[in-house]
Structures are given as structure tokens and as C-alpha cells.
Symmetry: C2
Amino acid sequence: MTDTTSRAASPTLDEVAVLAGVSRATVSRVVNDSPKVSPEARQAVLSAVAQLRYVPNRMARSLVTRRTDTVALVLNEPNTQVFSDPFFASIVRGVSATLADTDLNLVLLTAQDEREQEKIGRYARQGHVDGVILMSVHSDDPLPDILEEAGIPLVLCGRPFDDRAVAYVDADNRGGAREAAAYLAASGRRRIATITGPLDMIAGVDRLAGYQAGLAAAGQEVRADLLAEGDFTEVGGARAMAALLERAPDLDAVFVASDPMAVGALRALREAGRRVPEDVAVVGFDDAAVAERCDPPLTTVAQPLTDMTPLLTELLLRQIEGVGEQAESRVCRTHLVRRASA
Amino acid sequence: MTDTTSRAASPTLDEVAVLAGVSRATVSRVVNDSPKVSPEARQAVLSAVAQLRYVPNRMARSLVTRRTDTVALVLNEPNTQVFSDPFFASIVRGVSATLADTDLNLVLLTAQDEREQEKIGRYARQGHVDGVILMSVHSDDPLPDILEEAGIPLVLCGRPFDDRAVAYVDADNRGGAREAAAYLAASGRRRIATITGPLDMIAGVDRLAGYQAGLAAAGQEVRADLLAEGDFTEVGGARAMAALLERAPDLDAVFVASDPMAVGALRALREAGRRVPEDVAVVGFDDAAVAERCDPPLTTVAQPLTDMTPLLTELLLRQIEGVGEQAESRVCRTHLVRRASA
DNA sequence: CGGGGGCGTGAGAACGCTCTCACGGCCGTG
DNA sequence: CACGGCCGTGAGAGCGTTCTCACGCCCCCG
């Protein structure tokens, strides 16, 4: 009776075994509920487990099983503003919800700079996780290479820049943007500008390409002065809009590559005294919650997030289970949500 | 030469040892850079490590050291909207930056419901992390109890409801709110309303108490019809503001317990045709980035985030290192940032 | 020239778990 | 009544580290 407060010192499998009057192996079987245990033995073990508040040591278990039952969702984003982007929140929430039904744990890892990216690479290579979902991939990210080389199951959220054989899930950014541009052209707009995402991200590139394709299909010229690069943030969107207005005061529409940027653009337009949609029509991308409640409500290209997040985890799990499986990818359709801004 | 593509099968310590022509122990010493190794041996080991691309297996290491060199930051938030609150993003970023200089890894864990909270509790008890920083604690959260009982080092971001002996870091919510209310009273406002945070969170409770104290100190009555409960989101703030306007059309000021809510309140006021600050003065709380760029720019109570995040990690590290240390806590001063809204 | 004291090294026992294997006991069948 | 098979169980060998010891070696001092 020397210690009661100190030294929690988690009980081990054999302590449970001794208390239950069985062998370590039997306790292990009960804990991993193997069917090959007699009801009496199982009962004895269970009450011993309860009495000692036994929790299996994951490190010991992982050491032999080579599984951690943990997957990582990596937010690879230097721009801190973007961090509170509702798109991230939706993905995180969706993946987390999908995984909640399994016995897998989800951890979020964030990297603001290359040093932190390498730290994450190390973390993964050391065997902390069974697989990785990688978001917000920039063109110069080292992480995909590191993980691939280490043979860690990997799914990208957004298609990779090069045509590497890696699994990914993406929205049809090009198609969605094309539809948005075509829609603006069809509604009579003739000087359709665009605020792009960062062009070192594939979503930025693809949405720009879609915009250009949409204009071309409508027989409109793609003018360089109608293009401004944003960074997916509200502030960036406002700044780009202001630049656009100065450079091309005659624009009558703008396709903005994300909703947070579109909100910023809306603000810049208001400050410049332009009416939306009368003077300038605005179409966003994402269909974030904010699109519904901004002024005016935003016409926007909806990303099929409810399809994408289950797919993301499904593809990862399949890679973790199946050893020699082929990397499989999926592109999800978008659709235009018409509201008041265009 | 049977396999070259397949089976990465990470090399182990003894494979390195064999290649370097030394013992396992020596390799271990080099890897953990112990000083007691001859330069030649060290060199041999290092090149063997490089050649085999050896990475130590964390599970095996943790099994014996009982350390994981990982800490968790838990976002305990059922309300998905709040998830993209800039306050969270700031804390995450701050803690992450502080930890970047150490060899500790940071993982983010999110819980949307009780089931996920228990999953996180299990995760921690299984020995995945050396310590936990817990954010966004609601009054009925089971996690603090679970972690405390399991003896896992824990720091709360925000003081606990009961006076339990747990380390925490908090802003002086009460003092900040009192200053805000006093400021509004001093500038001649006579019907000062408030939009509170969720009252199952200590920040919500404390900011309300501060508001009441500020009014009382100014000799003003605390009217029940001037109080509306929000949920720290923009939408919630707008809704609460609308309710307030309906209930007490004569209000001439409002203290809003968070900046996102204040943005919503601003919108509701605009829609109701009230001018800010002429008709209604508005003061927020947080000094989030959005406070600077909303219309009009928001007078708000600044939280000392740059003090709080290093403190958070420091207190946790001290608990992880020092075995028998007393739980130590800190409250950081706020200050009022005057802009145009009040 | 002999003995003590570092210093670098290696052998081997943990750490807590899983998993293979072999072994008794019971059943059903020949 | 003997025998093969199955089922529940336990003994023991790992999994890849760290860490404690003990052991040579060389240097310095007496």
C-alpha cells in the first residue's frame, strides 16, 4: 500500500492474464475478439480488463502487426489565410465522418513551409500512419515524392501536375469552369474577366483552362488584361478585382475561381460602385456556405464534396488493404448553382 | 536479383550494423547522437544509414522509451461552422510554429460528436501521444476527465468550468468584455445589448460576465431583453442581431462576443437599415483579420494570441518533462482595438 | 614497468504485444 | 473400444528498438 496516487503505469497483457487465470495468448484473443475462446474464459478476461482498466499498448501491437490503424490527412498549405477556407473544413469533416464508422483514427497534419513538410515526411516514414491523404498540392511539393518512394499508401485530393501513377480524387474543375464561362457568355456578357487561383496549384490551372475553353467555345477572345491571379483568399480576391477594374474598366462579368475570392471581389465591386449583376455578373466556384448568404447571393460552380470525401477514404483504404492494387482515380462532376449574382 | 521493385521492407538497425561493421548498439548511439562514438565508427554508420535509407522504426523505439515525441491538439467542436473560425486557425498555426523548432510532431484531432471524442480518448490512452492541448471545451465534454484519469499531460486552451487542478492558458475574457462594455457606456451609449457566445463554453460565460460587470460599473441596468445567445459563427451572429432588433428596437450599441458573430451582426444591422456606428455602436472580440476589413472596420477586444500559443506549448512541454510538477496556468491580458464601428 | 581509470564497444535482456505451433480433451465414427 | 479430428488453450519465438553492463584497450601516473 505504498502508492495509490502515483504511477499509473498501464497494466499489461500478462497482468490481465494473471488476474483472469488464463494465458497471455487467450487475453490477446479476447481483446482482438477472435471467435476461438470459450465463453467462460472470455468472461473472465473481460472482467479482468475492466477491473484493471486495461488498454492495449498500440506501440507494441503495431510493432508486430505493422499496422497503426491511423491515417493522416495532410494540409499542405503555406498560406495561413487559406487555412480557414471552408473547402478545407468540408473535406476534413467529410473524411472524418467517413472514418468514424471504421476503427481507423484520423490525424490532421499541417505544413506551412518546406521544413514542416519534411517533418511530416519523416513522421510518415517512421511508421506512424498506414496511409496519407494529401490536400492542397502545389507544383513544387516534395511530399508526394517522399511518400511514394517510401511506399506509403497515398491519395491526392486534386490531380497531380505530372501524369504520375498516383491515386487521386478531383472535381471536374475544367468542366465546371467551362460551364461557368459559357453561361456568362450565353447571358450576353462580352467582356468576361477571370480571377484565377494560384497557378502553382492544379485547381487554379484547370479552372483557368476551363474558363478559356468556355470563352473559345462561345467565340469570344481570351484577353490577357481580363486575367488576374488570386490566391484563393477573400483578401486576394478583392485585390485582384481592384486590379482588374483598373486595367479593364469595361469588363461586364467575372468568373472567380473560388467562393472566398468571389466574396472579396463582390466587396471590391461594391466599393467601386459597380452593381452586381447589372453592371458586372459574378460567378464563383465551390458553392461554399458563404455563397448563399453574401450580397447578392452568389451564382457558383458546386463541387460534389459529398461524393469526393467518401471516395477519398475509400481509395485510400483499398490501397491499404490490397497490396498490389493499381492506383485508381476519380473525377467528380460539378454543376452550376444559379443565384442572384449572374 | 529476384526483387528490385517489390518489398520496400524498411531496413532495420542490425542490417545497418552489419553493413557498417559495428554492433547494433553503436548504430543506435549514432542515430541518437550520443557523444560516445569514435569518429570512424560514426562515419561508417552514417554512410550505411544513407546507403540503406534507414529510418528508425518509431513503434519499436516508443515501446522502450515510452515516448512518442508527438503531441496532439484536439479541436473539440461539434459545430462544423465554427471549424473555419479564424481563431482556431491562429492557434493551430501558432502552436505548430512553436513546435517546429523542437523535434516534437504535432497532430490535430477533431471531434464532431461524443463518439469521436471517445475515439480520441482511446487514441490518447493507447499511447499515441505524449500530451494533449485541448481547445474549445464545452461544459459537458468527457475528454478532460478521460485524459486526466489516464495521466496524460494536458493543457486546456481556456479555463475549465470547475476549479479542477488542470493547466490552462486563457485570455482575460472577463476583463476584456468589461472594458468593451465600459467603453461603450463611456461613449454615451445607454441601451447596450450583447450577443453572447455559447453559454456552455467558458469563453461565452466569461465574456457575458464581463459585459455585465462593465454595465454595472457604469451604473447601467442589465436588461434581459438586451441579451441574445449566439454560437460564435457569422450566421449565428446575424440571427441573434435580428432577434435583438425585434425585441429591443431602441438599442444603441451591442457588444458581440466574437468577431465572426460581429460580422454577421453588422450585416443584420445593415439589412435593418441601421447605421454603424451612428445608430448602433458595435464592439467585437478576437481582433481577427476580418475585423480590419469589414465595413465599417470593427472595434474589437484583441486576444493576445502571440502570447498564448507559445505558453500553451511551453506549459505542456514542462508537464511532459517534469514528472511531479504542479499544474500551472496563465491568463493573458487583452486590449481594446479602436476602429470605426464604435 | 605495473596498476588504475577513462573511453569506445558489444552482448543480451527488456519493452508489450501477436502469432505459430503443439498439446490435451472431447466428440463422432468405424 | 480404438482412432482421427476439432476446438480451446498455452508455451515461446519474434517484432525493432534502447539501455544496462561488462569487457578490452590505451593512456597516464606512481
